[in-house]
Symmetry: C2
DNA sequence: ATAACATTCAAACGTTCGTTTGATACCTGG
DNA sequence: CCAGGTATCAAACGAACGTTTGAATGTTAT
């Protein structure tokens, strides 16, 4: 390579170019639907580069998720730490815990330029990925943050039975995952203009209001049903 | 084929065997991840049978969805018709509209034997499918029921701004889609025993409570944010 | 019985897949 | 200047893919 260009070249440029292209293409065509030839062409690197730098296509998929998910979940936990510290002995408000959890995802949605938005959509889809290894990886990367937030919600919602909380958290993750993944499906339901881009602040308010109400919902007939069963 | 066996053979047995196998395998391995060779082997039919009976793999995918989704959405609409008829001039309760929408999905979840459960999970995943044709198909098959329910919710929630309602319905579909698709992920969050199978009645109560509260949630800071923007 | 039709079957079609190879260019430390 | 490690490249590997073919088989109507 031209020495002048080489001097300007960052140390891991090829790796980064591959990861960026993979992120975009995995979103558009899925994992199986994205061929190494298309991927490397889009990244502007040689076909063999993926196997050289990552070992295999599967290892590349894992790297794509790790690059974004590790810092994201770390920040999620840090956000909760901050919240609990500032609340002192008192339990934080449920809405604030929800917000702390949402924030990392919503920040990334705003960053459309560097691909964060795209990754969030990819992540939302990965939850329901057919490939078992992928789902296991996601679950494993999420596990630490999950544990912390589950504990936090148990503290701020002490009156809610444990198994009921688990289900409501499940619903909450579902709402988030789908909302982030299906950014184009909204228009189907809504018939609203595509130029109404995602406004992260507005979305945060809407999600928080919806989720807080759902998490705090009265128990209704659940107990009755359980007794009857 | 043996005439005695042939006499016992239903008219569309091959088609049905293919659809059943496709339903199961598409769930396990995804569309691209399921090869025609594996599919036809599992169905116990010849490799060429899919192309003979359906024309192509894509057409088979469409047939898999149509077989279940058409009657399912028809029943969803019928359920709403019944509800509105019985309510007469009064608007039905929000929780009842939610229940009417959930019922078709939850009934199918209970029917694990004939593959309905499996199809529901497949459907939940199809919402976020990479393939654009598949998503368009799903959206198109859902459209009539969507319109009816959107109108129904506008009637029972007259005080909720239209765009706010659209988002909350989006959240609702997300919760449902994810809950149905990720039946195995619950255990990751919960650490609960896998033998706690889905109890449709309990799930209906839990979902209805969560979704009703979310749909009826107070508007909070949303209006303030919108004014500021 | 026989012609016409519907279905099944084994085999092969051309294409594309993820991965590997061995040669070539590059930068770096001695 | 040159040996040694790192990275890139064109080319090829065998395997698996969706689809097509044409013969064989079974069913139906005349």
């Amino acid at each position: 390579m031209n020495p002048a260009l080489r001097a300007l070249k960052p140390p891991h440029e090829t790796r980064t170019r591959i990861l960026d292209a993979a992120e975009a293409l995995f979103m558009q065509h899925g994992f199986e639907g994205t061929s190494m030839r298309l991927l490397t062409a889009q990244a502007g690197v040689n076909l063999a580069a993926v196997n050289y730098h990552f070992g295999s296509k599967d290892a590349l998929i894992e790297a794509v998720f790790r690059r974004r998910l590790d810092p994201m979940n770390a920040e999620r936990i840090a956000e909760l730490d901050r919240l609990e510290k500032s609340a002192g002995a008192m339990a934080p408000a449920p809405a604030d815990v929800i917000r702390a959890f949402l924030r990392a995802s919503l920040l990334m949605i705003e960053d459309a330029k560097s691909g964060g938005r795209n990754f969030i959509r990819l992540l939302g889809r990965a939850y329901t990925e057919p490939s078992k290894p992928v789902r296991l990886l996601i679950g494993q990367l999420y596990a630490p943050a999950m544990e912390r937030y589950k504990a936090a919600f148990e503290r701020v919602l002490p009156e809610l039975p444990r198994d009921e909380l688990v289900w409501r958290l499940h619903f909450m993750f579902g709402t988030l995952a789908y909302t982030l993944a299906a950014t184009d499906t909204v228009h189907l339901i809504a018939g609203c203009k595509p130029e109404d881009r995602y406004d992260a602040k507005l979305l945060e308010e809407r999600l928080t209001a919806f989720l807080e109400a759902g998490l705090l919902a009265p128990l209704r007939g659940v107990c009755a049903v359980r007794k009857a069963a």
